[in-house]
């Protein structure tokens, strides 16, 4: 009974990927319907420093977002995992409720909050401060990304922490470890798989996001996702857009391989890996 899944995978995953490959390595001109193979799309990317700097900035923003998500997400996940069943169910619900609403709508809402005439500046005006420019800054873009992707991090870490056998902690205490030592030597290493899958779930959408920088960054600076979007929707250069997507895919595969590698080093037996 695997047959239907193979068909599904072929239609939904393999064929689109092959199309991207085909477009990336062919020259423009879909009116002729003849393929001319070329490397020009890649040459264009590597010969113009502007595209590399856009990629660099996208990676930078994505890394910052991911780091903040880990730093914020871990304590929250820890607290939820350590609370009683009922309150942890409630807390998890609170974390997930916002994701029921479309991200675009929620990001749009941040415009109203951060705007010069927005709620925060309105509040600040009572103290004679401002108006402070929040919108159209790096801060706004990172804030938007952390806000949107944090739930994925929390839930991943929570899942591993929740599965953690408490007997390990008793054993550690038995052997004379303080609570802090037990956390450092037992809980933290065992929760690395959760952190790794959290990083994957945050880093991937963050590095290719295009509407968050567009809405909160005021379109003043572009990320790689914006360039890809414009190649498809306005410039009508699907071939260059596909080449960019392919380059992105390679970058992401490399960074995932690196994270996996680190994961393996910390957890050589990988017994907690799903």
């Amino acid at each position: 009974m695997v047959y239907p899944y193979i068909v599904w995978a072929a239609v939904m995953i393999v064929i689109p990927m092959l199309l991207i490959l085909l477009y990336a390595f062919t020259a423009k001109g879909n009116s002729v319907r003849a393929f001319v193979f070329t490397l020009d799309n890649f040459k264009k990317f590597f010969s113009d420093p502007v595209f590399l700097s856009v990629l660099e900035r996208s990676l930078y923003i994505a890394v910052v977002t991911t780091v903040i998500c880990v730093l914020l997400g871990y304590p929250i996940a820890y607290i939820i995992a350590r609370s009683s069943n009922i309150s942890s169910a409630r807390l998890l619900l609170l974390i997930t409720i916002p994701t029921w609403i479309n991200t675009l709508v929620r990001t749009y809402a941040w415009r109203g909050i951060l705007d010069k005439t927005g709620i925060i500046n309105y509040g600040l005006s009572f103290f004679g401060i401002g108006p402070v420019k929040f919108l159209e800054t790096n801060f706004a873009v990172v804030l938007g990304m952390v806000y949107n992707f944090l739930p994925f991090m929390i839930i991943q870490i929570y899942n591993t922490l929740n599965k953690l056998d408490e007997n390990y902690l008793y054993a550690a205490a038995d052997l004379g470890a303080t609570k802090f030592q037990a956390f450092l030597k037992v809980t933290l290493p065992l929760s690395v798989p959760g952190i790794v899958s959290g990083i994957t779930l945050v880093f991937l959408p963050a590095v290719s996001s295009f509407f968050i920088p567009k809405l909160l960054g005021g379109g003043q600076y572009v990320l790689i996702g914006n360039v890809i979007e414009s190649q498809f929707l306005t410039a009508g250069n699907w071939n260059f857009g596909s080449a960019l997507s392919l380059i992105m895919a390679v970058v992401i595969i490399i960074s995932m391989a690196v994270t996996r590698h680190i994961d393996k080093k910390i957890n050589p037996e990988g017994e907690y890996e799903d």
């Binding site: 700097s53 009922i86 169910a89 409630r90 005021g218 379109g219 929707l233």
Partner: protein, 358 residues
Amino acid sequence: MKIQKILTAVALSLVLAGCNNVKNTINNEEAKSENAKNEIKFYNWGEYIGPDVIENFEKQYDAHVICEYFDSNEMMYTKLLAGESYDVLVPSDYMIERLIKEDMIQPINKDVVTNLELVTDNVKNLDYDKGNVYSAPYFYGSVGIVYDTTKVDKNEIETKGWDILKEEKFKGEVYMYDSERDTFMVALKALGYSMNTENEEEIEQAYQWLLDQKEKVSPSYVTDEVIDDMANGAKALAVVYSGDAAYILEDNPDMEYWAPTQGTNIWSDGMVIPKNAGNPELANKFINYMLEYEPSLSNTQEVGYSSPNKEVFEEMVNGEFKDNSAYRVRTDNKNDEVFHDNEKLRTKLSDLLIKIKA
């Protein structure tokens, strides 16, 4: 655990309600297919039509109209290219030009579309479709600057025109429109060139103009966000389409509209019938209906773009939009131009815009 029970109940009822809807749609589909002969698919811009226009057509002609919406000409074009079948489309001038060139639309039937005579001469017989063989006007307008009269001096903007967008005192106070065509139109017109130029030297100068502007005022590049933001008075100056401007002006009395005399883009959207239309006969009737007084009035009141219907336009200019400087699109400036589609230029300008923003 009680809370979980409640949640399950809520979720279940939502699912059931969903099923109910599905059932209803299926019933509707069945009902629809019965008068399938009298049905057209209308592919239009989002929020681009009066509230009762479709309903009245359906009543008058005992027909059914399926509406779909797009938000860029390119998106519409891509769908059409993918083989999707529609009966009436509303592309912009340059896209109509391209569709004619690529033989993707059919001539309208002038015996049916007799209401073309109600249309003002300003938007008839334009370069992209001489004699209106393929298209009937839907809306038209210009591109200009919406400015906050409390921050910007009227005389200054009228003398400086587009160049006011790079005055250092407006740093952080400028919205540009995030598309290569509108961005470069501003720069090229400010420099006194044609917005359709292919001259490398002129394009390079326009590129430098925009870099200089970025240096001096660091403008924000936005699209539809500009409407709400300017209605809230977020910035002093914004490059805006006249119809959106009309809306902003209705909402915020501090705002005014000015299309610089250095010239601007006069654009128009028109109704066309694709080659693969399933019901061209009804499509022609629909186009004819859309040109009538009632639907034209409803459309322009709802959307704020200038109506091609002479009578409606006069009525609006002397009535509802009397003090609205954005509604009355000028047609007497020789510097104004219609945009032409040029694929090579599009790629080049798009690459340059990325460099400017990056």
